[in-house]
């Protein structure tokens, strides 16, 4: 784990650590059902996507933003590569990229950005309130951080949440998790579809 070298960061970092510690506690503990919840967002191509219509199919969901220099493209590329490795097995497994920066990430911006990862990744966006709500349900931390002038960046959780076909939290992929281990998790996730249960 990388250590922070900037004193300036400590306040935000401390807050993030507390939050993430809470998330990890939930993730590692078996009360995993508390990650995820009902949401209703708009896809980058304009369709309504809600948790009710998703029920019955497993999916992976990531929270990012297009002004993200590294984590977001890398994660989406990793996911596309995993889906390619899964081949036919990946049919029915959807990957969602939810923007935590709805002010700048309009549906059109998201659609262009995610075109590189087609057909696997679907971009989702909504009003700031809708995004705040879904982030809260997934225990995703995000925060606007001012850069110079009017520019800003977003601190954000970099996990990929895997949701089983029953709509419950199944597992999580860490940033750049070893591809073979990530692949095994996705295979088990897809299994939840066949078994009709996350257990």
């Amino acid at each position: 784990m990388k250590t922070l070298r900037i004193a300036l960061w400590t306040t935000a970092a401390a807050a993030a650590v507390v939050l993430v510690a809470a998330l990890l506690y939930v993730t590692v503990g078996s009360k995993a059902g508390s990650i995820g919840g009902p949401f209703r967002l708009r896809s980058a191509t304009g369709e309504l996507v809600d948790s009710v219509s998703l029920k019955g199919k497993p999916y992976a969901i990531f929270f990012g933003f297009t002004h993200c220099p590294e984590i977001c493209p890398t994660t989406m590329m990793d996911m596309a590569a995993l889906m390619a490795r899964l081949g036919d097995e990946a049919k029915g497994l959807r990957i969602f990229f939810v923007s935590v920066d709805p002010d700048r990430d309009t549906p059109a911006v998201l659609r262009d950005y995610l075109a590189a990862f087609e057909p696997h990744v679907v971009g989702l966006t909504g009003t700031p309130d809708e995004i705040a709500q879904v982030a809260k349900e997934f225990r995703v931390y995000y925060r606007k951080v001012r850069l110079t002038g009017d520019d800003y960046t977003m601190d954000h959780s970099a996990f990929v949440y895997l949701m089983g076909s029953d709509g419950n939290f199944f597992d999580v992929l860490g940033y750049q998790e070893a591809p073979d281990r990530a692949l095994a998790k996705l295979k088990r996730l897809i299994e939840t579809d066949r078994k009709g249960s996350a257990l």
Binding site: M1, K2, A13, V20, H67, P69, E70, P73, Y113, H156
Partner: protein, 156 residues
Amino acid sequence: MKSMLTSAVLAAVLAGATTAASAGGITLAHPWSRATPAGAPVGAGYVTLENSGSTADRLVSATTDAADHAEIHEMAMNNGVMQMRPVKEIEIPAGKRVELRPGGYHVMFMGLKHQLKVGDAVKGSLTFEKAGTLPVEFKVEAMGAGADRASGQGAH
């Protein structure tokens, strides 16, 4: 594994050395960048800064032709949360080398004018407190290139 990594780093440094710019004890080795998704408003430049001089120097600013402007940033993953902050300067101690690389320091291209594609060269400059302004050309590699990974497709 370790020796493999070391030789990979060495190879990268040597490859970069052919196009390295140098002044006042500062050498820029292997300047590179990553391809960006369509419409991505930002990109990042990476380079190894080597200080062969006898006093410390500092990278204080950067420019690029490919974007509205460039900033020096540091990124870190903090318990699963990605954080990025501008830094005022990066110190390169005498006789030492500092690597700008994914997951750490980078030159951030703010407001990209066009998509960065593999093989492109992103022109710009890096300004040091003592060595002055050096031209730099970041060579665009694949999206996800140069990532630290336990295994898999990230190697290059």
